[in-house]
């Protein structure tokens, strides 16, 4: 691993440790309000200050990162699984199944990602409970984000369909379903892994976008979306900079590591 990638891996590991054990850094709950300290500047009591409702920014940052990372990984898993099913069937079976799947993929890709997200999210109920809003937001992101991954997996499965190993499996009398699940998809694992790792930062950013437009995870549960909403008010940089900086560090580290894994795979 080169130096920038080692730095990225180190940063991501420290962030993961911090969000896995937030009690090591703060004892305050993310939704506890300190009415005597609204919009307080950084101090020993509140290292990153408090927000407009008097909630500890450090605690919200840690719990928000944990939720966004966990949900982002979950959404990426779901969307990669969907992409594997659609792309795998299209690439392996070919014919009319392939044509239908390609048309569906083309349709999904011809609509700009953010346009689609905003429209679908706005059509779903907005007054959900915080826990349900996490599930709805990230499920929707994964259900709308599988198309580009499916295209890559379709191409991989298509090339595998014409490979010697599948020909041999066919000659041995193995059925289509078994060939797909036992021989084609396992061999498409590098493509699946690549799509999964690329999706995680994209989905975290998608939730942040929706949150900034008021359509993401509901308060008081913190997420990158509603943490970044504090940017809508004029705040001193010492208070406002932490959330965007944290998000940038996480996404940049993920991108660096994704590139590193792609280089290693090549």
């Amino acid at each position: 691993m080169t130096t920038p990638r080692s730095i990225a891996a180190g940063l991501l590991m420290s962030i993961l440790l911090a969000v896995a054990f937030p009690r090591l850094l703060t004892n305050v709950s993310y939704d506890r309000q300190f009415r005597d300290a609204v919009d307080a500047p950084p101090s020993p009591r509140f290292p990153l200050g408090t927000d407009e409702l008097g909630r500890d920014r450090l605690s919200r940052l840690l719990y928000g990162t944990r939720i966004s990372l966990l949900a982002g990984v979950g959404a990426a898993l779901l969307s990669t699984a969907l992409a594997a099913v659609v792309g795998g069937l299209a690439g392996f079976l070919g014919g009319w199944v392939d044509r239908c799947c390609v048309a569906w993929i083309d349709l999904m890709l011809s609509l700009p990602w953010l346009f689609l997200l905003v429209i679908v999210r706005a059509l779903l109920p907005l007054n959900l409970s915080p826990a349900l809003s996490i599930v709805v937001t990230f499920s929707m992101i994964s259900l709308l984000g599988w198309a580009s991954a499916a295209r890559v997996i379709r191409a991989t499965c298509r090339s595998l369909r014409d490979s010697d190993l599948v020909l041999q499996a066919r000659a041995s009398g193995i059925g289509n379903w078994r060939i797909l699940t036992r021989h084609v998809l396992p061999n498409a694992r590098p493509a699946l892994r690549g799509q999964f790792s690329t999706s995680v930062p994209i989905y975290i950013l998608a939730e942040a976008n929706l949150g900034l437009l008021g359509m993401g995870v509901s308060d008081p549960v913190p997420s990158w979306g509603n943490l970044l909403r504090s940017l809508e008010r004029p705040l001193p940089p010492a208070l406002a900079a932490w959330a965007p900086l944290g998000l940038m560090v996480i996404v940049m580290s993920c991108l660096y590591l994704t590139q590193a894994s792609e280089v290693t795979a090549r």
Binding site: D106, S110, V118, A122, P201, L212, M248, L255
Partner: protein, 298 residues
């Protein structure tokens, strides 16, 4: 011999163009139907808070309930709506209480201007950063350019727009900065690939100047990919326009899409989806036709 051969060569080309046009039309129509179905199935569709107003008579409330009757079946609604649309009647917006044609006329110019400026700005920024990164032969310079090119990609589009809003930047620059990282990545890789190719090394060895190498030996072979990237930029710019117009409160198509979605304005959403799908499909098809490989095939 030449005549029949030429007409035989032209026939598949014509067929290919007709197939592309049919595909564009089918995708756009499917996009419109998809949005109509999604709106129809969304919870709370057809409900109006005015129906709870006790001062309204039962006849008025019944009339309000019946006003959505035509939209209950999405297929039926879509068929009737398309027929009206082809006759030039786009209907009225429920959220804005105005004819959709008027809304589109007003807002298309705003968004189109933003997108054109944004795409031009993003390409200019990408070229300004990618050229020194590739041609500079300095790992430090390449690292700094990669950092500058990658940093905006690590923030959501709406976040970039909010930050630039506080810095007093115009919406054109917001769109430019949102799509710039994606354009930069592609341009950087294309240039790096171009500069590393053997014919460029030969041109260098022959003592050709850097300007001539760039224009004649790097950009010309990469023109097909650059045209394709230009088509992708249109899609990216529209996505960015949704976030930027919502954040900067600009009366464009992006803001219209956002407000129509929140207000579950079925006719507006159908027209917008058709427009966006058509624009994306047409820009992609034009890029395909402009690319030398496609022209060779035709």
């Amino acid at each position: 011999m030449i005549g029949p051969m030429a007409s035989a060569g032209r026939r598949p080309a014509r067929r290919r163009i007709i197939a592309a046009l049919l595909r564009i039309a089918a995708t756009a129509l499917a996009g419109g139907l998809l949005s109509a179905t999604m709106v129809r199935l969304s919870p709370g569709f057809g409900l109006d808070e005015k129906q709870l107003d006790p001062t309204l008579s039962s006849a008025t409330q019944e009339a309000m309930r019946r006003s959505h009757e035509g939209e209950r079946n999405p297929l039926l609604f879509y068929g009737v709506y398309l027929k009206q649309m082809f006759a030039g009647n786009f209907g009225n917006s429920v959220t804005f209480g105005r004819p959709i044609r008027e809304l589109l006329t007003e807002r298309t110019t705003v968004t189109a201007a933003l997108m054109v400026w944004g795409i031009a700005g993003a390409w200019a920024l990408a070229a300004l950063l990618a050229l020194p990164a590739v041609a500079g032969h300095s790992p430090w310079l390449a690292g700094v350019c990669a950092l500058l090119g990658g940093a905006p990609a690590c923030l959501p589009a709406a976040g970039v727009a909010v930050l630039l809003f506080w810095l007093g930047a115009s919406a054109k620059w917001m769109i430019a900065l949102v799509i710039f990282p994606k354009v930069y990545q592609y341009v950087f890789h294309l240039l790096r690939h171009g500069y590393a190719s053997p014919h460029v090394m030969l041109a260098r060895a022959k003592g050709l100047g850097p300007y001539r190498i760039l224009t004649c030996h790097v950009l010309v072979p990469a023109r097909a990919q650059l045209v394709a990237l230009a088509a992708v930029s249109v899609n990216l710019a529209f996505g960015a326009a949704v976030a930027v117009e919502a954040v900067a409160d600009l009366p464009g198509l992006g803001q219209l899409a956002w407000k129509a979605a929140v207000g579950r304005d079925l006719p507006v959403l159908v027209v917008l989806t058709l427009m966006v799908t058509l624009t994306t499909q047409i820009s992609n098809s034009v890029a395909d036709l402009c690319s030398p490989a496609a022209r060779g095939a035709v």
